[in-house]
Symmetry: C2
Subunit: 227 residues, 2 copies
DNA sequence: TTTGCAAAAAATATCTACATTTTTATATAA
DNA sequence: TTATATAAAAATGTAGATATTTTTTGCAAA
């Protein structure tokens, strides 16, 4: 079952990556001729890729005026993070109610794997390894909720948060204190999950998800992306 | 500020309506030549419209094999309605916490408007009027949550539920008993909202949103759409 | 000179028509 | 029947035509 892929698909993936990684800046004009050169593709498939990203709110479209990278702002930062924290807290609560033994095991396993990110030479490698394992950890928790659609909504929010989250990530991973804080939060989170105290899980997850906001806000100010 | 619109936009809107209204059935092949004829449009813009609907999960795409209307199933019915009920309950809880006087007023106003859907001749008109006012009522409640992103997630789920909801709608609006039940549920809901009992609001909204499931399940069976 | 406006030119977005590639259906032979 | 070859249908992609927006230029008035 090798999933084939057409040009629109690959342009979609590349452009999405280029936007979340910052290769294209917020509010940048996405010039069709430039995109065609960059991704070696015709206008047709390119517009398909853009249309999908418009649906995901990473790109905006104005008829007859083409496409732009969606803007960033502290306002949107708060909106996205609040919605995401609320959703994640609710999903965690459900996971605690529904999760079985194998769920507990997968949470503990992914937490352990995350705690072992240290003996890496390259700083950038460290960043991406911690990021992927951190995501895997929170993903393991959420997976217990038992709802595909809620998991899809969660992915939607994660995609929209990604550009903001990247700012936070560098700050956190390269700061031993911040990293230690996270370790503690995760430890406390696991204890609470295992205790099955749903109410406490909800507030703890909510707060854990809201913590990055002030940090990101500062970085947005510094970089003049505050909008 | 007259929002201009291109062919892809209008094809997107028309096709979306045609899918949710049942003009195209679940799992139908969406033949490009047919779509081009129907919407009087070339392949380019048509594919843009389809790409957006793929992102919204109303259409599925298989590379080199074109597009299909997303299937329906009792499994998906449960998944969508559970996620939607959970989300709506959470949003209602937030609305109760944050909503001000004008929010209360708009909820009561839209409930009143809904209760006055009666003196209409045409049955189909009655259906669409009750539907839009019912939506407006629940929208008024949710609007109090104060989060654009949560409202967007809510719209996402509403769109995905729409085909299932249409089945329930006919059943409910054309049954005096079912309609009376809804009236009571709404009355009780408003009382609880005004009492600001957040916990009760949450469970009440959740149950209200889950009620249609068995009815829709039956209709899916009858129509052989159970998948 | 500088500013404002209008017309022309350039750049860009959008759409269609057609060419190419891939899948699906049909026919034929083992 | 089953497998293989052939034909038809369909999806995908590109190039170029058309329409719209933006920029530049030219000119007149302050």
């Amino acid at each position: 079952m090798n999933e084939k892929t057409n040009l629109a698909d690959s342009a979609y993936l590349q452009l999405k990556r280029d936007i979340t990684s910052g290769a294209f800046k917020p509010d940048d004009k996405l010039l069709m001729s430039h995109l065609r050169d960059r991704y070696e593709i015709g206008t047709g498939p390119m517009r398909e890729a853009l249309s999908r990203l418009v649906a995901e709110h990473l790109v905006t479209a104005a008829s007859q005026r083409g496409f732009r990278v969606a803007a960033m702002s502290t306002e949107e930062l708060h909106d996205i993070y609040f919605a995401r924290a609320s959703l994640e807290a609710m999903i965690a609560e459900l996971a605690v109610q529904k999760g079985d033994d194998s769920w507990e095991a997968s949470v503990i396993a992914s937490a352990h794997t995350l705690s072992r990110v240290e003996e890496v030479e390259n700083a950038e490698q460290m960043l991406s390894l911690w990021d992927s394992r951190h995501k895997a950890f929170h993903n393991a928790i959420a997976s217990g909720c038992g709802s595909n659609k809620l998991m899809e909504l969660r992915t939607t929010m994660l995609d929209q948060a990604e550009r903001y989250r990247q700012l936070w990530l560098r700050h956190t991973v390269f700061s031993p204190e911040a990293l230690a804080d996270k370790r503690n939060e995760h430890k406390m989170l696991i204890e609470t999950l295992l205790s099955r105290d749903t109410k406490k899980v909800r507030t703890l997850v909510f707060e854990h998800m809201m913590n990055p906001i002030p940090i990101i806000e500062d970085i947005l100010q510094e970089q003049g992306l505050a909008g």
